[in-house]
Amino acid sequence: MEKKDYFDLYREMVIIRRIEERAAELYQKGKIGGFLHLYIGQEAVSAGIGSVRQPQDRLITAYRDHGWAISAGIDPKVVMAELLGKVDGCSQGKGGSMHMADVEKNFWGGHAIVGAHIPIAAGLALGDVYQGNKDAITICMFGDGATNIGFFHEGLNLSKVWNLPVLWVCENNMYGMGTSIDRASAVSEIRQKAEGYGMPNERIEGMDVMQVREDVARVLEVIRKEGGPYLLEILTYRYRGHSMGDPERYRGKDEVKKWEAEDPIGIFRRYLINEGIGTEEELDEQDAQAEEIVEEAVDFAEASPDPEDEALFEHIYAEPTPVEYRGYALSQESEGK
């Protein structure tokens, strides 16, 4: 890694943090609707994995997806515009917080039904294998809470039976909404669930981005060389509630404080200084740049227009298909785009 790469990675993590903080404010002001699940505290996971995946590797995740959108390479402006439901958002305002994607960047969403994207991820890998796309790995993230639903087990089983190149990543933040892992899962060590499918697995720390990079790069190499699925349980922590509507009665302030002392951005910053890669001043400069990028993103998103009314009937189908509007067939067909 060159100095610039370290700084880019650091700045990316700060951008994710600032985007989420600004999103929380905009949510309170009523500018962001629906549900909002913040990624604060988990930045080392998306930044770490995003920085070691190859362009042919597909990313797919659950609804806590803003960090992943940034780490997949989507412009913060486009992420913020989607949060505000604007036409310049990555899903043109039709997806919102939980449904970000950019196929050009091999980022396949943003899926909001817990665990439902897990069989789809197996299918992405199946598509690559079927079409002979060599060296492509599907990297699929989900929370600890998703490992108790049937989809998880059907998806893992299929990936092993068909030896599909999938890196299953459990971002274990220890709570499925407000229910702690030991109250919801028969085993609190999620990696054990892969044992039942004869699948190689590991549990790693997720607060140190350099460690995440090293471990994930190594595992991706194993999958590329040997094929087949692999499950990584990455221990992480979200500092904010499950969503903006979370009363957080299930954990104490001390617990959150303890984890904040292990802040992934703080850890990486100390690492960069201790290793002599950057100075306090240089990193402050990166912080300022991140701040500026996020403020520009907010300005861009606020200025971006709502989608036109016609957008309501676009994208229902890929092919031209008659559509209905309140009981009357529209004179024109759905554009089929």
Binding site: L124, F151, V161, Y317, T321, P322
Partner: protein, 326 residues
């Protein structure tokens, strides 16, 4: 043209499309080595191999979810659900994923996906294996729901579904697999998705039907003809999108309609079609529209009771006479 069963017509459509396009593959329970539980894919495994005719675990979410993922990458999977009753196990992937992904991500995701499933009762399989829940799936925008009533349509519609870039739920009826008809042998014979079709012309009464109710409606029409009543039979063929044009054109001539479906009456296909007739052709109504449907019970195992619950040719015949004579 060749005379063949609906089973052969479906099998032929699958075979031809797999020969034509290497991106097309089949995945489902017992589709390969077994040859398909209804023998639709008999011989496919030997011809196309295990990569293209993939036996899956008995795990419907993995079948449909996996097929969705593969479709997103540009492959053209055909996911087979042994029966539509098992589609409930994959309900999330059908209605929450397949029907939504193209729209929700503003057209970035394309799903050239076909889900084949067998619907209908009458084979003494009991309440959980005999349902006709087609209308449930037709409720969801984003999904195309197709269900043929003749062997020719089965071939032409299935080939169109496989070539479509949209997710299509292709509903077959097991009691029709042995039904015979003339089928075009042309390998590019396609029937358009989302278009209803007049299967028999007549000026006295309109009978709207789809799937198994099409041959039943045609039988009822023959009996009516013996009494000098000419029924027009309109085959919906597609439940979503629903093409009302041939129905309305017919109704404006006959001013009377019977709608026949194998599923339950409440919130069903007949409810939708009847409502649209009233909305679009109220001035042409000479008699209340009649719905013929399944008795509102879970289907029993006993053959006599089961047939008592299922709509019969007799029911269509009597309903037609009622809308004519009151």
């Amino acid at each position: 043209m060749a005379r063949m069963t609906m089973r052969e017509a479906i099998s032929r459509a699958l075979w031809e499309e797999m020969e034509r396009d290497e991106r097309v593959f089949i995945m489902g329970e017992e589709v390969g080595v077994w040859g398909g539980t209804y023998a639709v894919t008999k011989g496919f495994y030997d011809r196309f191999g295990e990569d293209r005719v993939r036996d899956t675990p008995i795990a419907e979410a993995a079948i449909v979810g996996g097929a969705i993922g593969a479709a997103l990458t540009g492959a053209r999977p055909i996911a087979e659900l042994m029966t539509i009753n098992f589609a409930f196990v994959a309900m999330d992937h059908i209605v929450n994923e397949a029907a939504k992904l193209h729209y929700m991500f503003a057209g970035q995701f394309k799903l050239p996906l076909v889900i084949r499933a067998v619907s209908g009762g009458g084979r003494q399989l009991g309440a959980t294996h005999s349902q006709t829940p087609d209308a449930v799936f037709a409720h969801f925008p984003g999904l195309k729901v197709v269900s043929p009533g003749t062997p020719a349509d089965a071939k032409g519609l299935l080939k169109s579904a496989i070539r479509s870039d949209d997710p299509v739920l292709f509903i077959e009826n097991a009691t029709l697999y042995q039904s015979k008809g003339e089928v075009p042998e042309d390998e590019d014979y396609l029937e358009p998705l989302g278009k209803s079709k007049v299967q028999r012309e007549g000026d006295d009464v309109t009978i709207v039907a789809y799937s198994k109710m099409v041959p039943d409606a045609l039988k009822a029409a023959e009996r009516l003809a013996e009494e000098g009543i000419e029924a027009e039979v309109v085959d919906l063929r597609s439940l979503r999108p629903l093409d009302m044009d041939p129905v309305i054109a017919s109704f404006k001539r006959t001013n009377r309609a019977v709608i026949a479906e194998e599923g339950w009456r409440s919130y069903g296909v007949g409810s939708e079609v009847a409502a649209r007739i009233y909305e679009l052709a109220f001035d042409f109504v000479d008699a209340p529209v009649k719905r013929v449907a399944q008795a509102e019970v879970p289907l029993p195992y006993n053959a006599k009771l089961e047939q008592l619950a299922l709509p019969q040719v007799e029911d269509i015949y009597h309903a037609a006479k009622e809308v004519i004579y009151g």
